[in-house]
Symmetry: C2
Subunit: 335 residues, 2 copies
């Protein structure tokens, strides 16, 4: 059932039928009614591909995330999906399994079927990104590249707060568990290092680790091989892995070692002890990114409007506590 059959049945031209569906006010109400009934009787529904072809836009948006089952990605995706739908767009989701090659392929495939693309923590090289942005409007989340609008999470301050917090609890040797290469470690790392030197904390780094539970497990043993009393993990999933493994090895959290995560996904409240973590406003970031993307799509050139930053905040829960006074083991009767 095409537009023509509807037209025939309603005794009008195809053009009129098209208008009924795209700019109803432009057609006389009587005619409109006739067309509508004809359409309903024929159970006509417009053909999106034909429409896309003719108008030059698809009405779809796309998002590429590193890992669909990662809880931060999920949070973002959910917010994005909701916002996209609210604006009348459907959402394509592609996961790359953290494989850069897949990510590029997915992105390119999607690029041609959508009006705009949101890339979350993309790992692909700069030139690939620019090439992509050449094909379709692109907004990035968590990566900065000249000429491509982006939403960034500014965690410098929040990371400082985390170190400050640990320092106040008496920790003097802290290690940062870095996320995967190409992920937004830099700001956190800078915040971490700066804060360490500012507070006189001995800061070290381990990694990179994949942003997953299993890698947290692995990380824990590496941590225990050092003599730090606190760790700051790239994300909650790693942090939870660390906590688990430490528990298995009989190390108390926060009794012996304190752990800080990032993201404040629901996970943080689910585990024991509840995770002290840097909250990243994923939903806000996702929603904002979509708004930027739609501005782009609609031609309002926000391209050079400086990248938006959303900032994190430290949420203190139970996985951080006073440092065990390791350097002074005699002192049995602490306050």
């Amino acid at each position: 059932m095409s537009i023509r059959e509807v037209a025939a049945r309603a005794g009008v031209s195809p053009a009129t039928v098209s208008r009924v569906f795209t700019q109803p006010q432009a057609v006389a109400s009587e005619t409109r009614r006739r067309v509508m009934t004809a359409a309903e009787e024929l159970r006509y529904a417009p053909h999106p591909a034909a429409s896309s072809l003719a108008r030059g836009r698809t009405g779809n948006l796309g998002i590429v995330v590193p890992d669909i089952s990662n809880s931060f990605s999920a949070l973002v995706t959910k917010a994005v999906d909701r916002q996209a739908r609210r604006d009348g767009y459907a959402l394509f989701v592609a996961g790359s399994d953290e494989v850069v090659h897949d990510e590029e392929a997915s992105a390119r495939a999607l690029a041609q079927q959508v009006d705009g693309l949101l890339l979350v923590s993309p790992g692909m090289p700069n030139d690939a990104l620019l090439a992509l942005a050449d094909v379709t409007p692109v907004v990035m989340l968590n990566r900065l590249l000249d000429g491509i609008p982006a939403v960034l999470t500014n965690l410098y301050e929040a990371t400082s707060h985390a170190v400050e917090h640990l320092h106040a609890l008496g920790h003097r040797a802290v290690t940062y568990l870095a996320g995967p290469d190409g992920y937004p470690n830099d700001v956190r790392l800078r915040g971490f290092r700066d804060a360490c030197s500012r507070f006189g904390v001995e800061g070290s780094e381990l990694g990179p680790f994949a942003a997953r539970f299993q890698d947290g497990i692995r990380a824990a043993d590496l941590v225990l091989a050092t003599s730090v009393t606190a760790v700051v993990a790239y994300n909650d999933e790693i942090a939870v892995g660390v906590v688990n493994r430490l528990a298995d090895r009989g190390i108390a959290v926060p009794g012996d070692i304190s752990v800080v995560g990032f993201d404040d996904t629901q996970l943080a409240e689910m585990v024991t002890p509840r995770l002290t973590t840097v909250r990243i406003p994923a939903a806000v970031a996702g929603t904002t990114a979509i708004e930027m993307l739609l501005d782009l799509v609609r031609g309002r050139d926000v391209g050079l409007r400086s990248p938006l930053e959303v900032s994190g905040e430290l949420v203190v829960r139970s996985s951080t506590g006073p440092a065990r006074s390791l350097p002074d083991p005699d002192q049995e009767s602490a306050p």
Copy 2:
């Protein structure tokens, strides 16, 4: 840059260019080479909408899940995405936030842009489903409806095992925390009831609960208002919520109350104590569903091939243990 410009530059007809991209072996290698270089120089990429229109298929599949951030959905989606990509399809994902109306709308919107649709635990009414299946090939996961191929999770046996397990541990009063209405509670419930009566366990039910952590929290207090010593929760997220709340109220798991979940998502291994849970092979289910869907799409009419069932299995971890001998409080010196 359309196919015609490539054709002009390569000195061939548009038809030939099209063939180069769709059935390369049908064109002489010399010609093919010429076309390829021309295409590259022009940075030509085929226009999916045009192609969809002409061929009558889109090369896309769609999946509608109740909640993108639900860990079981995420597992399924991930597997589905991978399998779809492997078969050369891109995947549309839509979340319905568990709102039936949104689900219907999403599904219908998607239906026209994809070659096939996978519905995960759909909550929409039968006639809506049938109408949808009339428009596009549909496979359902976790719901059975005559005429629509489906992949079902048969958890009857696994649920029985859960009850058997609890019974063996000495539990005599167990409650089932039901998931949301319209979700696949029935088989589990049947398995639960049958097993209870078989083993002489007093089985009760609470709910429905949304399949989320928060509802688990809520459920815990309801559980404590009864005198059961064990609960079987609709999914891991609810189970974790229960465990958390119980801990907050000073109830030991499994010391005082044992908890069993469903799904065996990664969550189960992340929490303390690790969750005894019924593993549902989400990846297998998702992959299988996609294969069925593709069979459908390609016209091999598997429509009436009986719905496929994947079965669960009980994974015993640490959230279940011997029942506290409540009815006999004198007995202080238990073995």
